[in-house]
Amino acid sequence: MARTVRALRDRAVRGGSQLRPRNRATARLAVLLAFLGPGLIAANAGNDAGGIATYSSVGAKYGYDLLWMMVVITVSLVVVQEMAARMGAVTGKGLAELIREQYGPRWSIFSTVSVLFANLGICISEFVGIGAALGLAHVPAQVSVPIAAVVVWLLVVRGSYKVAERVFVAMTIPFFAYPIAAILGHPDWSAVGRSIVTPHIQLNGPYLILFVATAGTTITPFMQLYLQSAVVERGLGPEDIKAERAEVVTGSLFANLVASFIIIATGATLFVHGDHTVNSAADAARALAPFAGRFAEVLFGIGLLGASLLAAAILPVTAAYVIAETFGLEKGISRRPREAPVFVAVITALIAIGAAVAMVPGVPVIKLLVLVQVVNGALLPVTLFFVWRLARNAELMGAYKNGRIFDLLAAATVIATSGLSVVLLVVTLSGNA
């Protein structure tokens, strides 16, 4: 019954019968493009303002030394995201919903509360990122942040899922600014190549902390929660698993390539010229100008704006999905406030608080992100453990449960990533960060 004129027109083939198949190649391309969605969005929402700051400082401090790690992280990310996407397609339920059904309300409430706080914290940092990015163009945050908040809110609350998804996908386009900025920095490509294939470890505190922080910012709990819920809202089923898997891999590859280019861009400039401290993504952009030119600064600013906008939209949506799933409430980006009041209220609250706090001059963003890191550090092992346990559960997944070799890989990934996350948690709490 929920047919729309627009949807009907999308499919309308003018002239000729609609029974005849279209050209094969265009059809295939259309399928591929149509599939760009949850996987790409989830992975790239991880490259947010905080992520860019982390990658920038990795490049500024250690040059290309940590590039090899991006390869390992990409594999881990693919493994984790694939499980979440597969579960969404097979069960038709979000992760929070499955946790509630399989492990009871305590764990699901723990996840819910953690996600709510962590996402609120990150959301603030995204709006700070938006303010800082447009600040590079001398737009005051008091102007840019409210506008951005309203735009994001309208998109998420008033748009249909399809429209919102298209816009989210489009928001990843600014990420192409980073490869260009990297090229402008004239990196020594042979050194880059060597660093990618040679694992390189320094056994000192700051190096290890950055190492762990990079892993933590690339694989964040909200990414699995968002991906699985979005796969469900998109209405994907077991027959779509192959295509969705391809999309998850493409999305993760793209996201981590972008991250690597950020490291290369700052490594080729700031590191080489001895400027080793970067506190935020906007700092990185400003610092880049003297070495790679004003254009590089603009590119970094554009990348930051796109990244922050994308994450500022995804984080509130994720929190709302999780709350609605845990309490069994109506949910969905396509729903109007009247249909899903709590869902919309959570989104609205997160955007409003995030934007309002971000407008206060001198918000201690770094301290806030440290706090977020603590919450996420406690949540990630829990989320990953559940993702793994549920994805290998034959009762739940039937023929689509983890294969034997994949399951070993998944277990290793979950243990390693959770281990790193606990290390980061301990280090952060003991105040060494």
Binding site: A12, L19, F327, L329, R336, P341
Partner: protein, 422 residues
């Protein structure tokens, strides 16, 4: 409902599970893990046994051995317990594992709810599930320590008579619990439930209505596109065409468009000839125009037919009530001459010719878009608009329900919320 409230003592599942398993003398034997109920037949499902852990082993406690169920403990009639493993029998589910925290259908409200607590009581001499708690407080009560649980009064009680649980996830070999209560729902409500539920739960609802192919087709007509696609993907071409044959031609054509292009031709070919012709005709048009919206089922006679012949035609045609509310007349070249509403036809004098009583009617071309059709309907107070080709031949009619569905703002479409509370 009266039965549940008259019950002297309502027990909460989450407080029973985790309690002690005691023998007749009150000695602790082990821990109660879950309760088993049989979902078949009776209005309030009786407890058929318990699953408990005794000395590190999971055992099955049949209901014959249970003397009393209390919050915090379950007492046995005997001093000892034969250790037997739990094996699911027909239509049996585990309350905690299979029902608690999961989605249920609230049949009275036609919405999905989540079981935050399961309530049972002693009725007719034995313990039976009397309802579920779907309120937020029921959930909060489970989060606080057991000692304080009684301090939280809950408000979300829903009688089991209004509840139909999903059992598709219960891993028994072909455990098929019938869902008789779903028969109370309107096809549109069933479709809304399918849309709100996960694919598996939706498949369970379809399995429950499959016994009545007409109802199944009605539910399909009401289903939103994405979900139609989801549920035809699992079916063979023959099954899909069987379904299409029972649907209204215009809805069937829309559904054909949901199929992958390589399947369409074959599915349409399998349709009965009449329906196949109608669907093919409709598929030639852009679905957002009058041509795509129109139904080829209408009543049109030659203008020299008599009033009686016209009424006879209405009586014997299979055209639905909306479509038959207008009778059209054409000349010998099949050009549309005019139309008359059924009511006016009935009120007309005997023995007049149709040509004497029909009036000219507003028509649209098959290429007219939906806005144009809607405007025409509004301006001329029409519930049916005839669609004519360039040669004035009547091709089909667009009824107001097809238009309304498309012009209604998206937010107005859901008739009710599937949310837990009101």
């Amino acid at each position: 409902m009266p039965v549940a409230h008259a019950a002297p003592h309502v027990l909460h599942l989450s407080l029973v599970v985790g309690g002690d398993l005691r023998d007749a003398a009150g000695e602790r034997l082990g821990r109660v893990d879950d309760l088993i109920v049989r979902l078949e037949g009776e209005e309030y499902p009786p407890v058929a046994g318990a699953v408990a852990t005794v000395a590190g082993r999971q055992v099955f406690v049949p209901s014959e051995l249970i003397a009393e169920i209390e919050e915090r403990h379950v007492s046995l009639r005997a001093q000892r317990l034969d250790l037997q493993h739990f094996r699911r029998r027909r239509a049996e589910v585990l309350l905690k594992k299979d029902v608690l925290d999961r989605q249920l259908i609230n049949v009275d409200g036609a919405r999905l709810v989540r079981a935050n607590e399961i309530e049972f009581a002693r009725l007719d001499g034995w313990y039976r599930v009397v309802g579920v708690d779907i309120g937020m407080r029921g959930l909060i009560r489970r989060l606080v320590p057991r000692r304080f649980a009684h301090l939280i009064a809950t408000t979300g009680f829903l009688d089991w008579a209004s509840v139909e649980p999903f059992t598709g996830h219960v891993p028994t070999v072909r455990l098929r619990v019938p869902h008789p209560k779903l028969a109370r729902l309107h096809p549109a409500q069933l479709a809304d439930l399918v849309e709100a539920a996960s694919h598996r739960e939706g498949a369970e609802i379809f399995a429950a209505v499959a016994a009545d192919p007409e109802l199944e087709a009605d539910v399909f007509e009401e289903l939103e596109e994405g979900h139609q696609r989801e549920f035809v993907e699992d079916r063979s071409d023959a099954e899909v065409s069987e379904l299409l044959a029972r649907m209204e031609a215009d809805d069937a054509a829309d559904l054909v468009l949901q199929l992958p292009e390589e399947r369409r031709e074959h599915v349409v070919a399998l349709l009965p000839p009449v329906q196949g012709r109608r669907v093919r005709a409709l598929l030639g048009y852009d679905p957002a125009t009058a041509g795509g919206l129109m139904s080829p089922e209408f009543i049109c006679l030659y203008a020299d037919a008599t009033r009686e012949e016209a009424i006879e035609r209405v009586r014997h045609s299979g055209v639905n009530a909306d479509g038959a509310s207008w009778v059209y007349a054409m000349n010998t070249h099949r050009r549309l001459r005019g139309g008359i509403q059924l009511v006016d036809l009935l009120r007309a004098e005997d023995a007049v010719r149709v040509s004497e009583i029909v009036r000219p009617v507003q028509t649209v071309s098959p290429r007219a878009d939906i806005e144009e059709v809607a405007r025409l309907m509004t301006d001329f107070d029409l519930t049916v608009v005839p669609v004519v080709g360039d040669d004035d031949v009547l091709l089909g009619i667009v009824t107001v329900d097809d238009v309304l569905e498309l012009v209604l703002p998206e937010g107005w479409r859901r008739r009710f919320s599937v949310l837990g509370g009101d």
